[in-house]
């Protein structure tokens, strides 16, 4: 696998909501030594159907093989892959910061305003900032805030919807018949 052909792909997997499936799916990546950049799992638009969104850095030949292996799992309904231009995506970051800084460092207030971040909660000891957007935006905010000291920081996996329609509902209907 030449590194030049690698790019970030998001894999969207529609599955039955079953215990153990996460194991099966992650094992497919593990066996082939593919590092998962981020992983998110949640209910999908269809009742009883879960959706995994997995981001990996890989080339197209191999992502196709991976999709084949994923779809082969009995409880996987359908898997798709997209490059980042084909999807709308967001990630979310949470920052825990000492409350006193909010008043002592006016620059922090500017950062919050300019970045469209949101204050989730404030108490005597700390306040929590939430910022959603592209990964670079979250990282940028981290860099700005880290000068003042961050007590805790965490970032979510990527969540995504495609620009194109994914015909999962009609597919499911055909499966039911």
């Amino acid at each position: 696998m030449s590194t030049e052909d690698k790019q970030l792909y998001t894999v969207s997997i529609y599955t039955e909501n079953n215990i153990g499936l996460l194991n099966r799916i992650s094992a497919i990546f593990q066996r082939r030594h593919i590092n998962i950049e981020s992983l998110n799992t949640s209910p999908s638009e269809i009742e009883g159907v879960s959706k995994f969104t997995i981001v990996v850095n890989i080339d197209e030949v191999n992502i196709k093989k991976i999709i084949g292996q994923i779809e082969k799992q009995v409880e996987v309904i359908k898997a798709y892959y997209h490059n980042l231009d084909q999807i709308i995506y967001q990630i979310s970051g949470l920052f825990k910061i000492k409350s006193e800084l909010l008043f002592e460092e006016p620059q922090i207030q500017n950062i919050i305003k300019e970045s469209n971040a949101r204050i989730v909660t404030v108490n005597k000891a700390f306040f929590i900032l939430e910022k959603s957007g592209r990964k670079e935006e979250i990282v940028q905010m981290y860099n700005q805030l880290s000068k003042f000291g961050i007590m805790q920081y965490t970032r979510s996996g990527l969540i995504a919807v495609t620009k194109e329609e994914m015909k999962i509902s009609s597919l499911l209907e055909s499966y039911n018949n």
């Binding site: 079953n18 094992a27 093989k65």
Partner: protein, 577 residues
Amino acid sequence: METQTIKSQGKTNKATERISGSEAIVRCLIEEGVDILYGYPGGAIMPVYDELYKYQGKIHHVLTRHEQGATHSAQGYARISGKVGVAIATSGPGATNLITGIADAQIDSTPMVCITGQVASHLLGSDAFQETDIVGISTPVTKWNCQITKAEDIPIVMAKAFYIAKSGRPGPVLVDITKDAQFEEFDFAYEKCTHVRSYNPVPTTDIIKVKEAADLINAAKKPLIVWGQGVILGKAEEEFKAVVEKSGIPAAWTILGASAIPTSHPLNVGMVGMHGNYAPNVLTNECDLLIAIGMRFDDRVTGSLSTYAKQAKVIHFEIDPAEIDKNVKSDVAVLGDAKKSLEELLPFLEEKSHTDWHQKFKDLYQIEYDKVIKNDLYPTKEGLTMAEVLKEINIKSEGKAAIVTDVGQHQMIACRYADFNVSKSNITSGGLGTMGFGLPAAIGAKMAAPDREVVSISGDGGYQMTIQELGTIFQQKAAVKVVVLNNDFLGMVRQWQQLFFDKRYASTEMVNPNFVAIAEGYYIKARKVTKREELAEAVAEMMQSKEAYFLEVCVEKEDNVFPMIPTGASVSDIRLE
């Protein structure tokens, strides 16, 4: 969470009956037509064993001497019957002992259902006595698996297990059942599973692809067919033979494809792969069209992928979409069931004979015959060869025996020289290469086909990996013919040491026990042959025996299996010496 989806799969309107979970398991097996199962008892599965005691007349439990033996016997049973093999074990060590057989069944696409007991659900995750996370452990080597903690889930999960194991590309399924679920009573009703929403086992054959394939086949000047087990699993032997005969194309087989058409068929040009025949390997890199049918381009078949059939167009007939372009890129992929696809293909094919092309196979066969085959079958040196033992078995069985092999040199020799004149005659561990497979698999094979002669052929190494199953043979009165080709070495490894490690025979020499005495210790009739003069008569005696029979043949210690494609080499660089 599990229950939700399980329940939505099938609604049942049959009358119900209040029984325990363990009885339900046995009733499910009976509903699925299981009349024989292989296993080993223990604490966490005892309620099921108690029910098996009650249902003795309906379902026969075979006590193997090790859980690995139970899986291999179930595999042997499944491979020869085409039905689902069943193995059963207790939790913890019982369950982990199944793993080798499960992994073997997974890679060789063998339908199998394994049932394991599990500690009570309130103990799950507490490192309780004999608790292992068998669902986690078996995940990478099962087609599907599931843990049951409530008795009411048993019928639906069992039905799903059998359906998944045998449909589409078959494989092993594991169902783990907690002890409390085995005791719990519930209203039992059974309905077979015919559909799982997220699972499409057999892709529909696309007629446009079939036509594209036919056009390529009709236009080809030097086409070659390589078929695999997909033909046998798809019960497509007849359709396959018709396609081969009408198109006149030379057809070669992978190790698991063996016997789909008889060895003696004029268009059967032999085995491909590492120890396959010279002609089909060399000509893979000369053909203009490679037609792969129900095979998956395993690296033991292709050698180096960068040179494999590069000049040829490739057609791939395959049931599993994940196999398409996995190793070899195809020009036309025909997805679907082999029987259906070949049936659809036949009318589009032109009748051809490809005489000049066939002549090339004959010429290369002659080279292989002069350099290898002649010496293997009609040796002039004193020591016995493995091949001449096979030759005798062919003669005495008229090529109708089911040959069950272990793994090593004897396996390659058996596949090269046994006559396979009946389908499902080569039962061997192809994908995993599991030593210890042969003897227990032969037990299962014999029980599935009591009317067939079943000959197990092992090396002295692999035989000792599951030698305890002689006890099962004795207890079950399974009339298996057991042949050990004894070269006092782990022969195949020794061959590699000789060729690639300067003859440094590190830990491959075996000091062996008195095999005849061991067999006799299990009350099995036994004989040892050391001289050529005794061979024919001994094989005849074995084949005439109505009961199990053990035959040890002491063969040449340092013989090698040729031809051979060294790892990483191109198939056309196959060595004859």
